[in-house]
């Protein structure tokens, strides 16, 4: 029905465009009209299309929750006076019955509600189409009545377009607000059950708690320190792999490589950067982790199958092109006069690089490394596939550790209740992740910017 509504809006807008254009044609022919006929058409089309489009979006967004609300109110009183979780189960059952998926024999009240639900759904869908038709027709008549030779159709049209563009550029801000609001809101619900101090300083992380009373599971512990140390351990390993390789690659490409090498190596690095992280994750599981284990057994060391070393090492490979391209930019931004001056004084290329270029480019490179760290902390798929699930408090890279992102994904994957501390914990971890990466990014960007201003 959503698709039909959009089609209807498109059709009515096009109709409005032609109506506007045709009715404005005589103005132009008579001379002295303000706007060309196409602007009269565009004015009509945009005023017919945009309000109806907003109506449809609002309708689709609100229809579900509204019908749910009405449905709950229509249930018998004794069914309504239960917990929110039970109520949502009822709703799910009603919808399943309405869709014809009957697993167990439903109670008469549910059956009745299913019929009501189906009727309301049907009503809502047709009402939306009717409302769209009505609003477009009314808008068409209203806009048509405003068209006149001296009417500033172009200005009005451009004004609406400007407002649409302003809205679009605010979407980014709305996204950030949405992220912050949802994370803070859910995390607050989590911290209402688990104290903040326990979460931030507790040493025990066992989130797999019982959802039903009869399940056998741990009592639940939400001390996130082992998760944080695991994240830092893997990120550190990744940076130990990525930083030297990335910076040396950049040095070679900037100072030593001729164009033939550059033409080959740059696209290869871009390929390395463009490979989806799930592919790196599979590579870690398939090749790197077994290889690390083999190497360990050669020396008689027992290495966990999901060791931090394998996950961190592969994550390092992923970050190499990132570090190398940012270091490349930083080195290229060093004024040529400094390099030439050093070479003219008789320094070798490597002396120029280590004594002049690298110190000058250091802020930019540091910024790149910080962005790399932020990447490593936020990277998800590699660690979900290659790192462990159990939070151990260790700095031994041969052990299995878990990370913030792994915990977020494992806590939320599959169907789960939205009220248990287990799922809410994921949002608390998400909040920490968001704040930490945001701080790193802001710091890195400000370092890079300050440095750039100095040399430009």
């Amino acid at each position: 029905m959503f698709g039909y509504a959009i089609l209807l809006i498109l059709f009515m807008s096009m109709a409005a465009y032609f109506v506007g254009r045709v009715s404005a044609a005589p103005f132009a022919a008579a001379g002295g009209s303000h706007s060309r006929p196409i602007y009269h058409g565009a004015f009509a089309a945009i005023w017919v299309g945009v309000p109806a489009f907003i109506l449809v979006l609002a309708w689709v967004a609100l229809q579900g929750p509204l019908i749910d609300r009405l449905l709950v109110l229509s249930l018998p009183a004794e069914m309504r006076s239960v917990s929110a979780a039970q109520l949502s189960l009822y709703l799910a059952e009603i919808k399943n019955v309405a869709a014809g998926m009957i697993f167990a024999e439903p109670t008469p009240a549910i059956r009745e509600a299913a019929v009501t639900y189906e009727r309301w759904e049907w009503l809502a869908r047709w009402a939306m189409l009717a409302a769209v038709a009505a609003i477009t027709v009314v808008a068409l008549f209203l806009t048509r009545s405003r068209l006149a030779p001296r009417f500033r159709a172009r200005n009005s049209f451009e004004q609406v377009v400007t407002w649409i563009m302003i809205f679009c550029s605010v979407v980014a801000v709305l996204t950030t607000l949405g992220i912050v609001a949802s994370l803070v809101f859910e995390a607050a619900r989590f911290f209402a059950r688990v104290p903040v101090t326990e979460f931030l300083f507790g040493l025990n992380w066992e989130p797999q708690i019982a959802i039903r009373a009869d399940q056998v599971a741990g009592a639940g512990a939400f001390g996130a320190v082992p998760v944080f140390t695991g994240t830092l351990l893997i990120a550190t390993i990744a940076m130990f792999v990525a930083t030297p390789i990335g910076i040396l690659t950049a040095i070679y490409l900037v100072e030593y490589a001729d164009d033939r090498v550059r033409v080959v190596v740059k696209p290869l690095l871009e390929i390395l950067a463009g490979i989806p992280t799930v592919v790196y994750g599979f590579f870690a599981v398939l090749v790197v982790a077994p290889a690390v284990r083999e190497a360990g057994s050669l020396f008689g060391i027992a290495i966990s199958p999901n060791s931090a070393l394998a996950a961190g090492g592969v994550m390092g490979i992923m970050i190499i092109p990132f570090i190398s391209s940012l270091s490349d930019d930083a080195l290229k931004a060093v004024p040529r006069s400094m390099r030439d001056g050093s070479l003219a004084m008789g320094a070798t290329v490597s002396e120029t690089m280590t004594r002049v270029m690298l110190p000058a480019a250091l802020p930019g490179i540091m910024g790149g490394i910080l962005l790399g760290v932020s990447r490593a902390i936020g990277e998800t798929m590699i660690v979900v596939m290659a790192a462990g699930l159990i939070a151990t408090l260790t700095i031994n890279p041969l052990d299995g550790v878990t990370t913030v992102t792994v915990q977020i994904v494992t806590l939320l994957i599959g169907d789960s209740e939205f009220d248990s501390p287990k799922t809410l914990a994921a949002f608390a971890l998400g909040l920490v992740l968001f704040i930490v990466t945001l701080c790193l990014n802001v710091l890195a960007l400000s370092i890079v910017r300050k440095y750039r201003e100095r040399y430009d």
Binding site: D68, M165, L272, I408, A426
Partner: protein
């Protein structure tokens, strides 16, 4: 006289200076070799990654198929109700006619294990397509089950002890007889592209994942392209330079570096919980991906708009165009190649994005391709994740093959972007 001013007293050939020069040159060479080694490492790792994928994955592009002469007897399949027929017995009889010496339920079961356990449904599908088969004997090609597929591809070593493989010596003997009769073939595995997901490796395909990814990318494009271009045009061409637009700019730059899993949390909390949109549906996936790609598209579009020289704008304004006309008639068409390139690259990133899709449930087990953007589906990268988690041997090569398919799509998209950039972009 001038000679005296030169520091000719320095002796460049004594041992100390020679040693120092040598040391400095050695340091020079060292840095050069370190750089070369770093590049070699990076390129070598890329090569290792691609080779291991191709080595593991190429086998999945062919599939062992076994052709049987199947008699669709009326004893098992009624003419008026072919859907309800007992196709298991149809298969059993056709195997019996090939191997009359195999008797006893245990052996018969072992024999049937050579075929995919989906075989009865395949025969059923063929009969439903063409009911005139009932009562006749027709050759039907059926995929071999995963262990025999691996055996035929050489992944299972015959020399290894019987207890270490999933196929018994007896079964290998039967399989070799089928092979000798020319009933075993290894054609291109079209099922990989046209089948949906399955628990059986030999039946599992990417059709559901490809349609899911297509729908999600479509939604992503329909949202992020217009919104991103409109936002970029506003910020670059219309916005006054004040604190408000500064906030928007900083915001976009920061959003570009937010981990994608956080966008998944946003999708889960807002789109699924608050607005009640369907779980696992490509529309939600596409909306989340559009938020992920939006900053990229805005940033590249702004770069493309910046590259259009101001003289074009001044000329348009000078002959009486309004600012909107100047943008739509002159600046945007000139910036379009750059904008499209950025959009395609952004979409390619979205195609490989996995973590946010996991959080909104696009990793469900779904056995038919989605019929629309509101139906549950998987996507290519989440399919890779699901298969990578499956224990069967056959799924290792399927996963590699799925990754190769994903990389093929990515390479195609990037190639289009590069082509557009080289063909259409003008330098001023």
């Amino acid at each position: 006289m001038a000679d005296a001013a030169l520091p000719s007293s320095i002796d460049w050939s004594n041992d100390r200076t020679v040693a120092r020069r040598r040391r400095r040159h050695a340091a020079e060479r060292r840095l050069r070799y370190y750089g070369l080694a770093a590049i070699m490492t990076a390129v070598g790792l890329l090569a290792l990654l691609l080779t291991s994928l191709i080595y593991n994955g190429y086998q999945a592009f062919v599939q062992t198929m076994i052709t049987l002469d199947v008699t669709i007897s009326e004893k098992y399949v009624a003419r008026d109700n072919p859907r309800e027929g007992n196709y298991r017995l149809v298969i059993r009889d056709s195997l019996r006619s090939l191997f009359p010496e195999v008797t006893g339920p245990a052996d018969e079961r072992a024999l049937a294990q050579i075929l995919s356990s989906n075989a009865p449904y395949i025969v059923q599908g063929r009969v439903l397509d063409d009911p005139s088969m009932i009562g006749r004997t027709v050759p039907i090609t059926i995929p071999a089950s995963d262990p025999f597929d691996q055996l035929n591809k050489g992944a299972v070593r015959r020399a290894s002890p019987e207890s270490e493989r999933r196929v018994t010596d007896k079964q290998i003997g039967w399989f070799d007889r089928l092979d000798a009769e020319g009933r075993v073939a290894k054609p291109f595995n079209w099922g990989l592209f046209f089948n949906a997901d399955s628990r059986l490796p030999e039946m599992a395909g990417l059709a559901g994942a490809i349609t899911g990814s297509f729908y999600a990318l479509l939604v992503c494009f329909l949202i992020s392209f217009p919104v991103g271009v409109a936002a970029a045009v506003y910020l670059e061409e219309f916005a006054p330079k004040n604190r408000w637009t500064d906030i928007i700019e900083v915001n976009i730059n920061n959003l570009a570096a937010v981990p994608s899993v956080v966008f998944g949390l946003l999708g889960l909390a807002v789109f699924l919980q608050f607005f009640g949109l369907p779980r696992s549906a490509p529309i939600v996936g596409g909306m989340v991906l559009s938020l992920v790609t939006l900053p990229t598209i805005i940033i590249t579009t702004r770069a493309a708009l910046k590259a259009v020289p101001p003289s074009i704008r001044e000329a348009a304004l000078g002959i009486g165009a309004s600012r909107h006309e100047m943008v739509t008639h002159h600046v945007l068409p000139l910036a379009l190649p750059g904008i499209l390139t950025g959009t395609i690259i952004g979409l390619a990133h979205a195609l490989g994005e996995t973590a946010p899709l996991l959080l909104i449930g696009m990793n469900a087990f779904i056995t038919q391709p989605a019929g629309g953007i509101f139906e549950a589906s998987t996507a290519l990268p989440t399919q890779v994740y699901i298969w990578a988690d499956s224990p069967e041997r056959g799924f290792v090569s399927r996963t590699s093959a799925a990754i190769l398919v994903l990389l093929m799509f990515l390479i195609t998209m990037n190639a289009i972007a590069i082509y557009l950039r080289q063909r259409l972009e003008r330098t001023w």
